[in-house]
C-alpha cells in the first residue's frame, strides 16, 4: 500500500491554456497531483473545470487548441502521438464521467465494458478477461458479479451503472483516475457509497484521483487538496481544510457562504396562524398504468404514492424531501391537479379539489401555483419573456393585454430581472434568469400557495443562494405559503418550517425542521442525513486529523 504521505509528483500541469477558436476557455493554469493524492477541482458552470479534466486525456474536440505542458511520468502528454496517447489512456490514466447512463454503450453488457479494457491493454483472452472482470466488478462492490457481468446497462440502477463505469476505468489498475462530476446524477445515499468506493480505491490501490465537482461539500469530504476554478482560471489552491476554513480569495469565500448549510436567510414574519390547515392531503394514493397489449386494457401499475397524509398551514413553508422515485413530485402534481388520485383526497380550505369545476377550478388554479426544476425547459422556447409572464393574467381574464404587460414589467422588477430582457427569448437568458421568469410567471396570478419543485437543483450554488433569498423575500412580502420540494436536505433545512420525508412512494417522517434534523425517528431519515455531504461536518473531520489527508 502506498501511503498518502509520499510526495511523489504524478501529474504536473504547467501553463495550460485551452481555446475554442478565439474564445479562451482555460487560461494559463498550473497545478499538480501527487501519487496517492485526491485532488478536488471545484468550480461553477463555465469555470472550465470539465474541459481541463478532458484535456488531460486528450479528449477535447478537434476544434480546441491546447498549449502548455501536461507532465506525467516524465513525459509531456501534449507532445505525444495519438498512438502513444492511446497506450496511456485506460492503462495509466482513465476517466469516469457524470452520466453513467449515456457513457455506457446500451448494446454492450456491463462485463463487456470491463473486458474490452483488459483485452485491449493486456491482450487477455476472452476467458481470462471474463474471470478478471468478475473480480473487478466485485472490487467496485457490485453484488453477484457473476450474474451482473452479463447485464445490459438498462437493466441496472444508476448507482450500479456508475460502479460499472468505475470498474471499467480501473480494470487495468491505472495510477490516475479523472472523475468528472461522477456523483452529480445520483441520489445522496448512492452518492455517499460511490464516494466511499473512491476513497477505498485510493487507500487500497494507491489510486490518485482528480475529482471534478461543483459541490464544495462533496469535495471537502473526499479530497486532500483543492483547486478552485472560475472563468478558466485557478483562483485558489491548497489543502482542503485550509481553503475551507480560511479562504483567501473572495470568490472562494462567496462559494462557501453560498453553501446552503452556511447560508443566512432573513426570518419570515408570519401572520396569526389559522385554526384549520390550508391544504389537507388525506390518505392520498396515486397509481400510474400503461396501455396493455390489447386496446382498452392497461397494465404495469406503478404505485407513485401510497396513503400519504399531510397538512399545509397557511403561511408556512413545508419541505418535502426524498430521493428519485420517492413520490415527492407526485404530491406536488396531485395538489396542482395534474395527477388524478386513485385513492384518498386533497382538500383546500376544506373543499375536495377533485370536485372543483368551472369558475371554482379556475379560481383554485389561481391560488396555487408552481415553479419548476429545469429553468430552460419550463419556458416555451418560442415565447418572449414578457409574454410568458403576462399570458396567465390575460387567459384568466384578470387584465387586458396592455394592463397585463404593465403588470408583467412590475413582476420582472420584483424578481430582480432587468427590464431590457422583456423582449428576449428564453435561450438568450441564463439558468438563474430563466428561473426568475418562472417565479414571476407563477406570481402573475397572485397565488396564496407556491409549489417549488427542485427549483434550484439545476443552478450553480451562488445562483441558488440568490434564488433562495428571493423566495424568502417574496414569502415575507406576499405572505406566501410555500411547498418546497427538494433532494437537498441542507436547502430544505434552511428554508422550511416543517419537513416531510418520502421514500419509495411512502411518507416516512413528518415534523418540524429542528425535530427531523436533530432528532430523526426513522432509520431512513438518519441514513439520508448521514449520506448528505455537509461542509461543516467535513470541516470538523478534517480539523480532527492532521494537515491534508482527512480521510486517513
Amino acid at each position: 500500500m502506498i501511503t498518502a504521505k509520499s510526495k511523489q509528483r504524478l501529474l504536473d500541469v504547467e501553463k495550460l491554456s485551452i481555446a475554442f477558436g478565439n474564445v479562451p476557455i482555460v487560461k494559463d493554469i498550473s497545478f499538480g497531483v501527487d501519487a496517492g493524492e485526491i485532488l478536488g477541482v471545484v468550480g461553477e458552470s463555465g469555470s472550465g473545470k470539465s474541459i481541463t479534466c478532458r484535456s488531460l486525456l486528450g479528449l477535447l474536440p478537434r476544434a480546441a487548441s491546447v498549449s502548455g505542458r501536461i507532465g506525467f511520468d516524465g513525459k509531456n502528454l501534449l507532445a505525444l502521438s495519438g498512438e502513444e496517447m492511446r497506450a496511456i489512456r485506460g492503462r495509466d490514466i482513465s476517466m469516469v464521467f457524470q452520466n453513467p447512463a449515456s457513457h455506457l454503450d446500451p448494446l454492450m453488457t456491463l462485463g463487456g465494458h470491463v473486458m474490452e479494457s483488459l483485452r485491449h491493454h493486456f491482450g487477455q483472452t476472452r476467458k481470462e478477461a471474463r474471470q478478471n472482470a468478475i473480480d473487478v466488478l466485485r472490487e467496485v462492490q457490485i453484488n453477484e458479479p457473476e450474474r451482473r457481468i452479463d447485464a445490459y446497462p438498462h437493466e441496472l440502477s444508476g448507482g450500479m451503472k456508475q460502479r460499472g463505469m468505475i470498474g471499467s476505468a480501473t480494470a487495468c489498475r491505472p495510477r490516475l483516475l479523472l472523475a468528472d462530476e461522477p456523483t452529480t446524477a445520483l441520489d445522496v445515499t448512492v452518492q455517499a457509497r460511490i464516494l466511499d468506493l473512491l476513497g477505498e480505491l485510493n487507500r487500497t490501490q494507491g489510486l490518485s484521483i482528480v475529482f471534478v465537482s461543483h459541490d464544495l461539500a462533496v469535495v471537502a469530504e473526499l479530497c486532500h487538496r483543492v483547486v478552485v476554478m472560475r472563468n478558466g482560471e485557478i483562483v485558489e489552491e491548497g489543502p482542503a481544510n485550509e481553503i475551507l476554513r480560511s479562504p483567501r480569495h473572495k470568490y472562494t469565500k462567496l462559494l462557501i457562504d453560498s453553501q446552503p448549510s452556511l447560508l443566512t436567510l432573513p426570518p419570515v414574519a408570519r401572520e396569526e396562524q389559522a385554526k384549520t390547515p390550508l391544504i389537507e392531503v388525506d390518505a392520498l394514493s396515486i397509481t400510474y398504468s400503461k396501455p396493455g397489449a390489447l386496446p382498452g386494457t392497461r397494465k404495469d401499475v406503478v404505485r407513485a404514492l401510497q396513503e400519504a397524509n399531510l397538512t399545509v398551514e397557511a403561511g408556512e413553508s413545508l419541505g418535502i424531501v426524498g430521493e428519485s422515485g420517492s413520490g415527492k413530485s407526485t404530491v406536488a402534481r396531485a395538489i396542482m391537479r395534474l395527477a388524478e388520485p386513485s385513492g384518498g383526497e386533497i382538500r383546500f380550505r376544506g373543499r375536495n379539489i377533485a370536485a372543483l369545476k368551472g369558475t371554482e377550478l379556475s379560481e383554485y388554479r389561481r391560488k396555487v401555483q408552481m415553479v419548476f426544476q429545469n429553468p430552460f425547459d419550463s419556458l416555451n422556447p418560442r415565447m418572449r419573456i414578457i409574454d410568458a409572464i403576462a399570458e396567465p393574467m390575460i387567459r384568466h381574464g384578470l387584465a387586458t393585454r396592455n394592463e397585463a404587460l404593465g403588470r408583467a414589467r412590475e413582476l420582472m422588477r420584483q424578481v430582480e430581472l432587468p427590464l431590457e430582457f422583456a423582449d428576449r427569448k428564453p435561450r438568450q437568458l441564463s439558468g438563474g434568469q430563466c428561473q426568475r421568469v418562472g417565479i414571476a410567471r407563477a406570481l402573475a396570478l397572485d397565488p396564496e400557495v407556491l409549489i417549488a419543485d427542485e427549483v434550484t437543483s439545476a443552478l450553480d450554488v451562488t445562483i441558488q443562494a440568490q434564488i433562495l433569498r428571493l423566495l424568502q423575500r417574496l414569502r415575507s412580502e406576499r405572505h406566501l405559503t410555500v411547498i418546497y420540494i427538494s433532494h437537498d436536505l441542507s436547502v430544505v433545512r434552511k428554508f422550511c418550517d416543517r419537513i416531510a420525508v418520502f421514500r419509495a412512494a411512502k411518507l416516512v417522517e413528518l415534523g418540524s425542521a429542528e425535530a427531523v434534523f436533530d432528532r430523526p425517528k426513522e432509520s431512513y431519515t438518519k441514513l439520508l442525513l448521514q449520506s448528505a455531504p455537509r461542509l461543516e461536518r467535513a470541516l470538523e473531520r478534517t480539523g480532527a486529523s492532521d494537515a491534508g489527508h482527512g480521510r486517513d
Partner: protein
Amino acid sequence: MSSLSALGQRLLQLIPVLIGISLVSFLLVQLSPGDPVRLLLGDRATAEAVAHLREQYGLNQPLIAQYFSYLSNVLHGDLGHSIRYQMPVGSLILDFVPPTLFLIAYVVAISVPATVVLAIVSARCRDRWPDHLIRALAILGMTIPVFWLALMMSRFFGVELGWFPVSGYGKGFLEHLHHLFLPAISTATWLVPLLLRNLRAALINETESDYVTASRSKGLGEGYIFRRHVLVNSVLPTLNLLGVMIAFLIGSSIVVEIIYAVPGLGTLMVGAVLGRDYNVIQGLTLFYALASVIVTLTIDILSTTIDPRVKL
C-alpha cells in the same frame, strides 16, 4: 415475460390491423363511381340480367353483410374472379408474384452493401470532399424519377450498347439476374440514397455520443470503437427504415416493371387499373398490405435480437 408470449401478444395486436386492412380493401371497390354489375354486363344488359347477377353476387344485401361475406371469402382464400383474365384472382396473383419477389430481393441485395459502404465512407470523411460528393449524389438519386431513369438506362445500356435485355424476365436464375439487372439498378438508385442518408446521420450521431468518448478514455482504437460501438448502435434505426422501405419498394417497383415489361405484380396492377378489373385491384391491394405487415413483423422480431432494450 417470455419471448414466446410476447410474440403472441404482438400477433394479437395485429388482429385489429388485419380487420382494418380487409375493411379498407373492401371499401375500395365502393369508391368506384360505376355499378360493377353494369360494368360486367355492359350498358345494354337487360334489367332482369342485372338483377339476377346482383342476386348471385349478393350485391342487393346491406353493405355490412356484403363485407362479412367478402371477409369469409377472403379467409377461405377466395379473392374473387378476374374479368380480364377469366380466372380466380388468388391464383392470378400467385402467377405474377415470382418476378416481383425476385426483383425486390435483387434490389435489397444490391442496396444494403452499397448503403453500408457509402455511409461509412461518408460518415468517416465527414465534411470533406468524399462526404460532399456522396451527399450530393444521394440527393440526386432521390430526385431522379425512377421511371425516367429506367427508361434512359434501357435505351442506353439495352438498346445502344446491347448489354442487357430491355424486357421480360427470362428463364432460370442467371437469366433472371441478367434480365432484372437494369430494373434493380434503377430502383436501387432511389433506395440507396434514402437508406444512406439515414445510416450516415445515425453513424454521425453515435460517433458524437458519450459512450464513444468513454471508450476513447479507455485507450481503445478508433477502428475498434467504430466497429464495435458506433456501427452496432446505428444498425437498428436503419433496419427499421429498411422495413418501411421494402414496403415502399413494393409500390415503386410498379412503374419499373411496366417499363421493362416484367410480368410481375406491378404490371398486373396497372393492367387491372386501366382495364377496370376491380377484383384484381382489390385482391392485389389486400395482398400488398399483408406482405408489408409480414415485412414489418419480421423487422420487429429482428430488432429484438439486436437490441436488448426493444420489446415486441
